[in-house]
């Protein structure tokens, strides 16, 4: 039981070092780390519904897209600062998430059917965005560069590094909070067996819906970063299935339903994607990094179905029960009473 704590402490130490790094790095490394953090953030947001609750959403790009377009259009056409537009985008995404979740969960779609529902909604968003000329249609929407922080734009690329880091820490904090509360415990139980949860008094519909809303809100906030980091939005990329795959694959590889899984996954995959992209580009082979993704996904499914993080914990000799579920009583002093009671009880 101590090893996960050691890992946690190590992770915290790394996170403390991270803010200091940009001053030592070249700009390429800063870019790579920014992407690690950003995709770690998106993965963590997905993790709430996809990992903890076990509802495999393959349409999370829809939330990035809605959030990105909302913040960008509000900033460009209505003069609303993206710092507030970010929340608007989050709320719009959460509303979309609520609709998808309501329909999917009310009608009891599970597994593959839920996957298809989320994909269908994301594709619908893509098609709608491609056909609304006011937001650029299929050609995309472009943001004028001002370099003004009020416009969520920065001359120094290190600013994006810190913002992405902040996003990732925020999402991880939210998940850590959820994990310790009744809500989080219900989520993992729902992943294990929904009917049994119902029998035990869990309103599975409400819990799943709430998870979907929180997850899509955070993802929608991430859309603002996406828009103002790239300065252009194309419906086929920002709503596309490939982005959804990018979001899903990191927590899966790192360990879905664990607190650090999405981050571990992003630290593995984002640099790998960048490096292999650069490597294969040299050889004139585009798409090479996605072949690597595919192979990695196959290997993880076959050999490490719980993901890398639980495997790392086990490797160190620690015990790992499913997804992020060290019972709080094992560490909290208050439950010493419970243990004492256990000893004095009849046996």
């Amino acid at each position: 039981m101590t090893l996960p704590r050691v890992l946690l402490a190590a992770a915290l130490a790394v996170l403390l070092v991270l803010p200091a790094l940009p001053s030592l790095f070249g700009s390429y490394a800063v870019t790579v780390f920014t992407l690690i953090f950003f995709y770690g953030f998106l993965g963590q947001a997905w993790n709430i519904i996809g990992g903890y609750a076990g509802q495999l959403s393959a349409g999370h790009a829809a939330f990035v897209g809605v959030g990105a377009y909302a913040a960008a259009v509000l900033s460009q056409d209505a003069g609303l600062t993206p710092w507030i537009g970010m929340l608007v985008g989050g709320l719009l995404s959460a509303a979309l998430g609520a609709v998808i979740g309501y329909l999917g969960f009310r009608f009891g779609l599970r597994g593959f059917y839920f996957v298809l529902l989320t994909v269908a909604f994301a594709e619908l968003c893509r098609l709608v965005a491609s056909n609304v000329d006011a937001i650029g249609g299929a050609l995309g929407y472009y943001i004028t560069f001002t370099g003004n922080p009020r416009h969520f734009q920065f001359q120094d690329s290190r600013a994006y590094y810190y913002i992405a880091l902040g996003f990732m820490l925020l999402a991880t904090g939210v998940v850590a909070l959820i994990e310790r509360r009744r809500f989080g415990m219900y989520l993992t139980a729902i992943r294990e067996d929904e009917s049994a949860c119902e029998a035990l008094g869990v309103d599975t519909f409400r819990v799943k819906l709430l998870a979907m809303v929180v997850s899509s809100f955070l993802t929608g906030m991430g859309g603002t970063f996406y828009a103002f980091y790239l300065f252009s939005l194309q419906p086929s990329t920002v709503f596309g299935i490939p982005l959804s795959v990018e979001i899903v694959i990191r927590p899966i590889v790192g360990g879905a339903g664990t607190l650090l899984g999405p981050i571990v996954g992003s630290f593995i995959l984002s640099p790998l994607a960048e490096l292999s992209r650069a490597y294969f580009a040299k050889g004139g082979w585009i798409g090479g990094h996605l072949v690597v993704y595919g192979l990695l996904l196959i290997l993880v499914v076959l050999f490490l179905p719980q993901g890398a993080y639980p495997w790392l914990v086990k490797l160190g000799g620690g015990r790992f029960l499913g997804g992020g579920l060290r019972p709080p009583s094992d560490t909290s002093p208050q439950d010493g009473a419970g243990k004492a009671g256990a000893r004095s009880g009849p046996s």
């Binding site: 597994g111 593959f112 059917y113 098609l127 798409g287 993704y293 595919g294 179905p305």
Partner: protein, 268 residues
């Protein structure tokens, strides 16, 4: 091609996300055969089907077999991995430029009453119907076909009566892949294609299969017709770029109200 997908799903309850990418490989194979060896796709499709059959068997034997008992989610992710590998290896080998296969029937048309029909499309349609009928006959008339259906009904039961379920699964997966391989080769003469065509093709065929009914052969056939008609109507009454909106909306409605599809048995 939805026929192939429905076969794989119907028999094995495995969701083949790599379906569209297998079709794209069928197209490229037809392209290679026709440009390098001068083999017309209307003959080449037999070879494409054969090669894809082997690919299907290999994927089933090497990968899917290992996790048949795992949760559905794992299979989805596995096939997603296979899809990524297939699509992007095609991208690496053939590049992103759209290709087109020159068939002998290119540009020839015939008049059927008031309509002008593209001969290439007509031949493809006829061959597709013939293949579907053959497949149906195979499943319902031959011993192996009956075994496949038995395994689909009850894998454990089939195991008990001594069927080699794994072999049956491999054959079914192979035939499913062969169907898309053939389909790919057959549409290649009139549909320009690039590696990125795989994913949309997969999504479209999922549409068709869900709408028609998972695991139902006539469902796949009529689902295909329905989706095409709906998309054409959407293109006429809305705007061409919105035609898919119709089929995705249809998909959502079917998912919610009749998840077993229009022709499928009710899932218990």
């Amino acid at each position: 091609m939805a026929v192939g997908l429905t076969l794989i799903f119907g028999v094995m309850r495995v969701v083949n996300f790599a379906h569209g990418d297998m079709m794209v490989w069928g197209m490229y194979l037809a392209w290679v055969l026709s440009t390098r060896f001068g083999l017309d796709p209307y003959f080449g499709f037999v070879i494409c089907a054969g090669v894809l059959f082997l690919v299907g068997v290999a994927v089933q034997r090497g990968l899917v077999d290992r996790i048949l008992d795992a949760p559905h989610e794992m299979q989805i992710l596995l096939m997603l991995g296979v899809a990524l590998v297939l699509e992007n290896s095609a991208l690496m080998v053939f590049g992103p430029e759209p290709r087109r296969v020159r068939g002998v029937l290119r540009l020839s048309t015939i008049d059927v009453g008031p309509f002008i029909v593209d001969l290439a499309r007509l031949v493809t349609f006829v061959v597709a119907v013939v293949l579907s009928v053959l497949l149906w006959a195979f499943l319902f008339k031959s011993d192996l076909g009956r075994t496949i259906r038995a395994a689909a009904d009850n894998g454990y039961g089939a195991l008990v009566i001594g069927t080699n379920v794994r072999r049956v699964y491999a054959v079914a997966f192979g035939i499913g892949a062969a169907c898309v391989g053939a389909a790919g080769a057959l549409v290649a003469p009139f549909l320009p294609f690039s590696p990125s065509a795989g994913l949309p093709a997969s999504v479209t065929s999922f549409n068709i299969v869900i709408i028609g009914g998972m695991g139902s052969l006539p469902g796949a056939f009529f689902g295909g017709l329905l989706v095409s008609v709906a998309e054409s109507l959407g293109a006429v009454f809305l705007r061409p770029s919105l035609k898919e909106v119709v089929s995705f909306s249809l998909l959502i409605v079917i998912l919610l109200f009749r998840p077993a599809g229009l022709f499928g048995k009710r899932l218990s």
